[in-house]
Each structure stands twice: as C-alpha cells, then as structure tokens.
Amino acid sequence: MTDQTDVIYKTDDLIAQDIDAYLEQHQHKTMLRFITCGSVDDGKSTLIGRLLYDSKMIFEDQLAALESDSKKVGTQGAEIDFALLVDGLAAEREQGITIDVAYRFFGTEKRKFIVADTPGHEQYTRNMVTGASTADLAVILIDARKGVLTQTRRHSYLAHLIGIRHIVLAVNKMDLVGYDQATYDAIVADYAAFARSIGIERFVPMPISGFKGDNITGLSANTPWYTGPSLIQHLETVEVDTTTDQAKPFRMPVQWVNRPNLDFRGFSGLIASGTVRPGDTVRVLPSGKTSTVSRVVTLDGDLDEAVAGQSVTICLADEIDCSRGDVLATADAPPQAADQFESTLVWMADEALLPGRAYWLKLGTQTVSATVQEPKYTVNVNTMEHLACKTLDLNAIGVAEITTDRAIVFEPYAEGRTLGGFILIDKITNATVAAGMLHFSLRRAQNVHWQAMDVSRAAHAALKNQQPAVLWFTGLSGSGKSTIANLVEKKLHALGKHTFVLDGDNVRHGLNKDLGFTEADRIENIRRVGEVAKLMTDAGLIVLTAFISPFRAEREMVRELLADGEFLEVFIDTPLELAEARDVKGLYKKARSGQLKNFTGIDSPYEAPESPEIRVDTTKESPEDAAERIVDHLLGWAPTI
C-alpha cells in the first residue's frame, strides 16, 4: 500500500554505510513551512502523527509510551492513536482537543518540514491566523464522510486572507468511504466552486487516509483512479516563498545599527525581498537619501550577493542617516511612506477594538502610535458576508481605516508580508491585540501637508512670557476637578499668566455635542479635547482641562500629543463614597437608579493614574491649598509631592 515509503524515508542504510554522504545530502535540504487545518474530527492530529511516525521522528521510548497511552486514553481501540503524539499540553489531553498552535518537525531526503498544528474550533481563528502567517502552504483537511463544511470554508478563507499561495485539499478518511472515487470527485467539485467564489485560483486535491497511510508517502493501491502526487511528493516539490521573494525588488528593514568603533558602521537586518550586491544603489526610506552598498558583511566573510531570507549587515559608501525602523530598498523602485491606510484586521484579544484609541502598531522594525476608525464592515467567516459593525470582538475580521502618528514605510500586503503585515499592541497591557494587513494608503494622507507658519510656537509663548502647558485634571464626577481648576486659573490670572479652562460640561455643549457616553464616544471626546489643548499650547497658553477622562490609555494619548514636559496630570483623588455623598449635580443618584448608563465609578470603570505629576487627596487637603501647590509646581517654585 505505501510501497514508496522506503524510497523516501529509508535513509538508514546510507547513514550506516556512508555518513559523510548522508550529511552532504542533509546539508542541501530546503525547508517548507505549512499548516494543517480542519474541523475537530477531521483527523488532523492523526495525519501529523502519521507524518512524524513515517519519517522516523519517533523514538522507541516515545513509541512505547504511545502504545501504552493508546490503550489507556486512545480513541482507536487496540491500534496506535497517532493523535496522542501531538496533543501537547496537559489540559488538552484531558479535554481531547488541541487548544493552541503547536509546531512539529519532520524531514525527508529533500526537505525539512515545519508544521503548524492549528486548532479547528470556532473560537480559535486567532490561532489559525497565527499559524498561517509563517506558512508557505496550507493543507485543508476534509472528512470524506462529511464533505465541505462551514469550518472548511472558514479555514480556506483565512488561508487565502493571509496570502498562502499553495493550498492542498486533503480529502481524508477515504478508508471509511470504501475509497470511492465518486464521493471524492463530488467533494472536490463542491470545494472548487467555493474556492473560486473567494478568489482561490488554484488548489491541489488528493484522496488520503492519515490513519491507514494512503497516498501519504507513496501512491496507494486502494485508489488506482488517483494519478496526482502523494502528499509528501507534493510537499517536497512546491516552491517556497523565500525563493519567490527573490524576484521582487530589494527591501531590508533595518533592525540594528552595528557600530563597534568609529571605523565601522553597518546596518543589520533580514532581507525581506530581492537581492543585494556591493555596488548596488540603494535608497534609505523614509528619508529618500541614496547611497551605494560598499560591503555585505558576515562573520564568515563578505558576500558577493545576499538574497531574501538572509540576515546580513550592509555597509554604505556614504555617511547618511539611517537607523532602526528605516528601510533599505532598491533605489529605482522604493516602497512608499504614508500615514493613513485601509487595512484588514483580525482581532485577537478578549477586549474589543476601541475605535479612536491609540495602539502601538509594529510593522517590520517600525513601531508607531496608531488609531483605528470605526470598521467599514466585518466579515462573517462562515458565509463571507460583509456586515455593518461598530467594533471588532475576539476572532472578528474586519476592514477599517488606520491612521498612524507619523508616516511609515509600507507595501500592500499582497506584494510583501514584511512591509504589509502588522500587529497592534495594547499600550497598557502590552498584549498583542490584532494582526493586520495593509491594502493601500488613502489619498488624503498624501495631500494634506503641514502649513509652515512664520510666527512660531516659541514666538507665541515668548510674547506671553510663559511656558505653555496643559494641566490635565482627572478624577471621578464630583471629585472637585472644576472647583480646583477654577481656583488655579484665578491664581495664574492674578500672576499675569495667559490661561484657558476647557471644562467637560462646557465642551459637550458645543464642540462635542454629537458625542454620547459610550466607551468609543468618551475616547473621541478626549481625543478632540487633547487636540484643542495642543493648538492652545501652540498659541502659547496655559491650558487647564477638567474631564473625568477615566481611561489611562487616552490620558497617555494626550500626553504623547504634547511636547515633553508640557503635560501635567493632576489626579483629584476623592474616594467614590465621598464623591457620591456630595453628588452636587444629582448624577450619582440617577446612575444608581439606572436612569444614567455608563456612569464612571458606578457601571463604568475609572482607571486611576499610576504616576501623576500631582496628586490631590481631597480628604486631606483643601481646594485652596491644593490650588496653591499646583501653581507652585507649574511655575517651578516648589518641589512636588
């Protein structure tokens, strides 16, 4: 049945007789990374276990453990349960499911393979996208008894979305349908219609049995009607992405500047695409300056040529500015830079996307602050329908506009994963919350330019004889923010300072009257106030703002908008019980009775500042004393507490 097994795997003789010849052969192997995806009972783990078993990646002690485990907890009766080989974590063995991405290794004479084993459960879209992101090829498993399922569609959509060019449709468990060709043909036809509809141009179907070993290594006598390659034959001959990437223009994101002494300055990175040789003209982006490659340096000696997939250090003939985050590219076809994009996002965190909130965006070696607009639509991964949405929840996929705080060097994801794929990172928890793929930059980003003004920011401030600043008062409703801000402004005014107060209630009557009190609206409220405060500091003013501003992330966003040292966070620390007891505006009463929703401290959280510039404990300090202290701190008259 698996008569070719020996031809492909049986290298023991060579190892025993001529180890040098074997090593020579091994040394020239290439590497293919692929993922397997299928529904819960499609036999994915069994197939991977079979590949490891057939390629002798299993040792006797592991086999003995496998045999005893198969009898204890296996699902295959007296036969070996290959799935047990790859079910890693203790929790999984108990539940009998795979809960995360696991990586497995095996090899044949021609190639080394890295398999990402990704789970088939609905809630784990995130894991499949993760596993697929590094794969050259996807094996989509179908149970021959069940045909194309909702999950098959989902996995195929995700594999296509992440840009996998090689798709294998493995119709598994053929032994359970009597190796019936008609069953197989019907499934392949069904899948072909679906694949076309989502833009998959090519796929390679094959009838297999992971359990019995049919068409895995060699062609099986049980399917004489099948004339295509066996799974291993196909995996051994598919062209890998790094080879394809060599034909594209040269790009290398700079990771690190190597500067051991004054005589050497090299730019280290992993070549994303193309090739590079000494003498090539390259452009540094985003600055656009050009130079010539003088050396390609490695510990093993300088190279005449380096290609996509190699980590090198490049020296340039000229002393030009270049640092981490810049991209070295071929001079006549460089990538572009922009700060507004349309992109697809796969949301990966329990906490949903907050449109307007600032996240870190990491793309290549660039990390910038970025905000996501309300998504244009989300994709139902089961039906591929586009649905309207306000946000993206865990495992949701959507299309949205993204704005970065400075221009980044990019390529559309379809042209290159390195400069088109990015992750979003929560600024407070540091969790990776989303994976994204850039499609194109938006025109307006390129057409809106800064208008340079002759009267500078410094000139505005100098005329007023003061340092501009923002005193950002934060605290619960009724904590005393407005009261103290008002006192501070009176004192500053008396000292001849030019000030202005932005008050929460007042702003909501005009500038922000279109906003409600949902999390997204509160973030937009703060963003607008932050931008207004920034303009006022450009005009040289000392700005006092009094907003509850409950979320740490938004306060940090405003801090980053402003020049260093110009943002002073003033935490008016009043316990909830006290603020509620005062209840000047009667709001707590309304919130408690349910008339007012999303009220901070009641049914919406307040994230206290961790290290504010000034903290006022209103149970210990009078508003008058606090105001005095804040003025002293602002004008640098006294040390702060």
Partner: protein
C-alpha cells in the same frame, strides 16, 4: 533575473535566529544569554557572534551553576567567554550551597533549588528583562507550543493559555516593569540540525560529546562518569566501583545526573551517525521530564523553570 539562490534549511534557521537576537537587542533594556555549556548553548552562542559581528554580542552570558557540572564544561565555558569577548556571569544559589543540596541526597530538590530557584534569583539580581535560552520545540511536548518570545510574570510564571499570538516574524517585546521575556532563538531547530550546524561551522563543543576511555561507575542501573572521585566518595559515603569504559554523552548536565552511553564515536560524523541510528529520545536520561506523569515539563515551566 538570474536563477534564484535556494537557501538551505540551515541557512534559513540561522537567518531566523539572528533576526530574533537582533530584535531583542533593539527592544529590550537589559538582555542576557543563558549559557549552559551544552551543544544547544554552543550553537546559540555561535549564532549570537554571527548576529552582531564585527561587534561582540552586546549582552553577558549567564551560567546558572549547580557546582556539579563536569570539569570539561567549566573549562569550555571560561574559554568561550574569553574568545567571544563577552562578560561571563556565574550564579550559584547561596541557599542551595549553604544547605549542601546535591543530586544524591536530594533528588528533584537538587534541580529545583540550584536550577529553577537559582535562575529566578539570578534574573532578579541583575534585573534582566530578556533572557535567551537554547530550548527547542522538538525536545518535549509542552515546548512545541511555546512562543519564541515567551512572556513571564514578575514572579517568572508561564501561562500556556495566555500566550501572545506570534505573527509573521513580528515579535512583541513590550512588557511592564518587573515582567520579563524568555526568548528561544533556536525554537525551530531539531537535534539533527544542531549537530549538522556544529559540523558545518566548527562550533566548539565540550569533548565529552565524543567517545573516549573514561572512569565510570554504575548507579541505580545507569552508567555515569566519575568526574570528581573524592567528591563522589564524600557524598556517597563509600568509594564507588570505578571501571574504565569508552563512553560519551548525548546531553550534558550535572555529572551525577547525566547518564553516559557506551560508544566508539570519536568524530562528529560518527556522533551524528550514532545519534541518527539510535532508538531512544535525547532527553530520556533526564529526570526532570518524568515528574508528575506526562506533564512534568509543563508544571516545571509554570513554576519558572526554563
């Protein structure tokens, strides 16, 4: 366009490891390389020298010592630190030293005190926020699921259900104060890849990996090398029966815990040949994987073991 230059799997694994190391150096405040002097550490150190050449690797080597390593390991350790131009930090858990913890009397406690606790103490002492380790995913089941950048809480715990997704080759190295990451640049290497790389690059390794006549004794059914006979006598309370045999080691740790195999493989190709033809897995001789049933390593890792 010329024919593409097809990269071999070792070239790609090397490029990946170098990329990972440079990302850590660019993004972490205070990285360190854990150096156990074994063959995986040897490869990792060699890759670090490649990654930053002509600069020396811009971080120190940390050896969490148990005082029970083979003499040949201490010799190679000191030599490699000199040759690489890197600072070598050696840490020995003072409590384990004071209590005289040893592999004969204390069993699993020996590993726990000297290695697990010692590592945590050392990382805390120097305030390292990123530590390179030479673990590979093919070694053990729970490793197969660990990320390349593996996030640890302030108390060094690992939560397998709450790992950061790792996409493309974009690594998220951000963390809060007190938290740290373990980074495994050779995650995707197999044991054969390691040997092949050592062979192709002449990476210096401890001579104990090669067969030679050495003094041996048997203990609890396994063969060990009598590396420090006076110390053995002291701890065992008797003189073990020493027999000279041609042996080598497939893995190196504390000499009383690391079983030897009888072998005649004196060259690297012979060692590789023997490794490939052998029928038991590499870590089989080690005690640490077998505790707590099938979940030994996973439990240890949650407690902070590397």
């Amino acid at each position: 366009m010329a024919d593409p230059k097809v990269l071999t799997h070792l070239q790609r694994l090397e490029a990946e490891a170098i990329h990972i190391m440079r990302e850590v150096v660019a993004e972490a405040d205070n990285p360190v390389m854990l150096y156990s002097v074994g063959k995986d550490s040897a490869v990792m150190l060699h890759l670090a020298r490649k990654a930053f050449y002509p600069s020396p690797p811009p971080f120190p080597l940390l050896h969490v010592d148990t005082t029970w390593k083979f003499q040949a390991m201490y010799e190679l350790r000191d030599r490699m630190a000199r040759e690489s131009g890197m600072e070598l930090l050696v840490y020995q858990n003072p409590e384990a030293e004071a209590r005289g913890i040893n592999p004969f009397d204390h069993g699993a406690l020996h590993t726990d005190m000297w290695k697990t606790e010692g590592l945590k103490q050392a990382l805390d002492k120097y305030g390292f926020d990123a530590a390179f380790g030479g673990a590979r995913r093919d070694e053990e089941k729970s490793r197969a699921k660990e990320r390349i950048f593996s996030f640890r809480t302030a108390s060094h715990g690992w939560d397998p259900k709450n790992q950061r997704p790792e996409l493309w080759n974009l690594y998220n190295a951000r963390k809060n104060k007190g938290e740290s990451i373990r980074v495994f640049p050779i995650s995707n290497w197999t044991e054969l890849d390691i040997w092949q790389y050592i062979h192709l690059n002449d990476v210096p390794i401890v001579p104990l990996y090669f067969a030679e006549e050495r003094p041996t004794y048997e203990w609890e059914g396994q063969l060990f090398m009598a590396d420090d006979i006076p110390r053995l006598e002291r701890v065992l309370g008797r003189k073990p029966e020493i027999v000279n045999r041609s042996i080598r080691f497939r893995t190196l740790g504390c000499f009383p815990l690391t079983g030897a195999v009888e072998s005649t493989a004196k060259t690297l190709p012979e060692v590789i040949q023997e490794t490939l033809l052998t029928t038991t897995s590499e870590r089989q001789g080690r005690v640490i994987d077998k505790d707590a049933g099938g979940a030994g390593m996973e439990v240890k890792k949650q407690q902070g073991y590397f």
